[in-house]
Amino acid sequence: MKKAMQPDEAAALIPDGAVLLIGGFMGVGSPHRLIDALVERGAKDLTIVNNDTATPEKGVGKLVVAGAARKVVTSHIGLNPVTQKKMFDGALEVELVPQGTLVERIRAGGVGLGGVLTKTGLGTLAADGKPTVDIDGETWLLEKPIRGDFALLAAHQADYVGNLEYSLTAHNFNPVMAMAAGVVIAEPENIVPVGVISPDCVKTPGVLVDHLLARAA
């Protein structure tokens, strides 16, 4: 059983310089209260792994605007001009990764695989400097696993064991990131007593989750 904590308590666990996996796609399925608490505590030098940097006013975009990030590993920054400006100014390191490769790299990190062998990116800038592997006469790009010090997840519903359910397009990277970090913090919209969620509805087993955020007041 886990005791639910407040956003500022959770943000205090996360040191400057940490590598964070943060769920969400254009801010949908992102842990907004955790992000606000990180901005509030003035976090610095974070490396943020996320599908996209959303917009300046939303989701991970807020951390970029606040200057909390040293580096982002992401597939898309097109709707956040602040990310692009900081990148062109040299104030922020941006590693652009194809979306399907990004989620598989995180999965590989979480499930103990040595890398991802994909066709995606072969012959493009995304393959620059990366090794390839020939298998039975076919060439595959070898992409390396990604793990975080922390995973910050949004969930639809949790129980106090930490089991998580997700809703509709708010799943996105959350279930995969739950497997790939040293410490996993989940921000559910709702928390129910243990035993209320059917085992078949659980998408992230509670054994993967270290901390739960209390419901919004």
Partner: protein, 218 residues
């Protein structure tokens, strides 16, 4: 009919019943508006749903149900929520029958560039590299020119999205099929001559006879 509507209507005619289709954001997403009723098509939004539906009525939006552009959508009966691993498993694994994507350039080899203008604009590839690499059929839906400059060029000067040759390019002026022999002009836009198309295209076009005007634009 404006240029974008011509493109969207023509691409809609390429979509087969019973298939799984991914529409890129912007112009490609307009294609869904021109499908017949009961088209029995499932649209995938790569952010997490198979069975994307229309925009919900005002006030009935769910913040947890959006398309890949972040706009509110609905889910059709029989829809399925998918996480990003499943979503790109469908794309990369060959389960996606078709993707329709926008383009900055297409070249004589049928290669697409649509994710970065180095030093100027770097939106990132998002899911585009996986889509072009993995979808069974890739259709590029784009305006024929950008501020008068041809977007169909001998060799992409912008970084390509994948080495894979796309299957069809649909613009307001032409339907073009990249083949081993080069870019074959299959159809002309409404009221457009082959000469008009060649003048707006920087890459060589193969047109052995005068191709018909676009089908299915009613």
């Amino acid at each position: 009919m404006d240029a974008k509507e011509i493109i969207a209507r023509r691409v809609a005619a390429e979509i087969e019943p019973g298939t799984l289709v991914n529409l890129g954001i912007g112009l490609p997403s307009m294609v869904a508006n021109y499908l017949p009723e009961n088209a029995h098509v499932f649209f995938q939004a790569e952010n997490g749903v198979v069975g994307l539906g229309a925009r919900p009525p005002e006030g009935m939006e769910d913040p947890n149900l959006t398309d890949a552009g972040g706009g509110f959508v609905t889910a059709v009966p029989g829809a399925a929520s998918i996480d990003s691993a499943m979503s790109f498993g469908l794309i990369r694994g060959g389960h996606l029958d078709m993707t329709v994507l926008g383009g900055l350039q297409v070249d004589a080899k049928g290669r697409l560039a649509n994710w970065i203008i180095p030093g100027k604009m770097a939106p990132g590839m998002g899911g585009a590299m996986d889509l072009v690499t993995g979808a069974r059929r890739v259709i590029v839906a784009m305006l024929h020119t950008q501020k008068g400059s041809p977007k169909i060029v001998p060799d992409c000067t912008l970084p390509v999205t994948a080495l894979r040759r796309v299957d069809l390019v649909v613009t307001e002026l032409a339907v073009i099929e990249p083949t081993d022999a080069g870019l074959v002009l299959r159809e002309r836009g409404p009221g457009v001559t082959v000469e008009d198309i060649k003048n707006a295209t920087a890459a060589p076009l193969i047109a052995e006879h005068v191709p018909p005007e676009m089908r299915h634009l009613i």
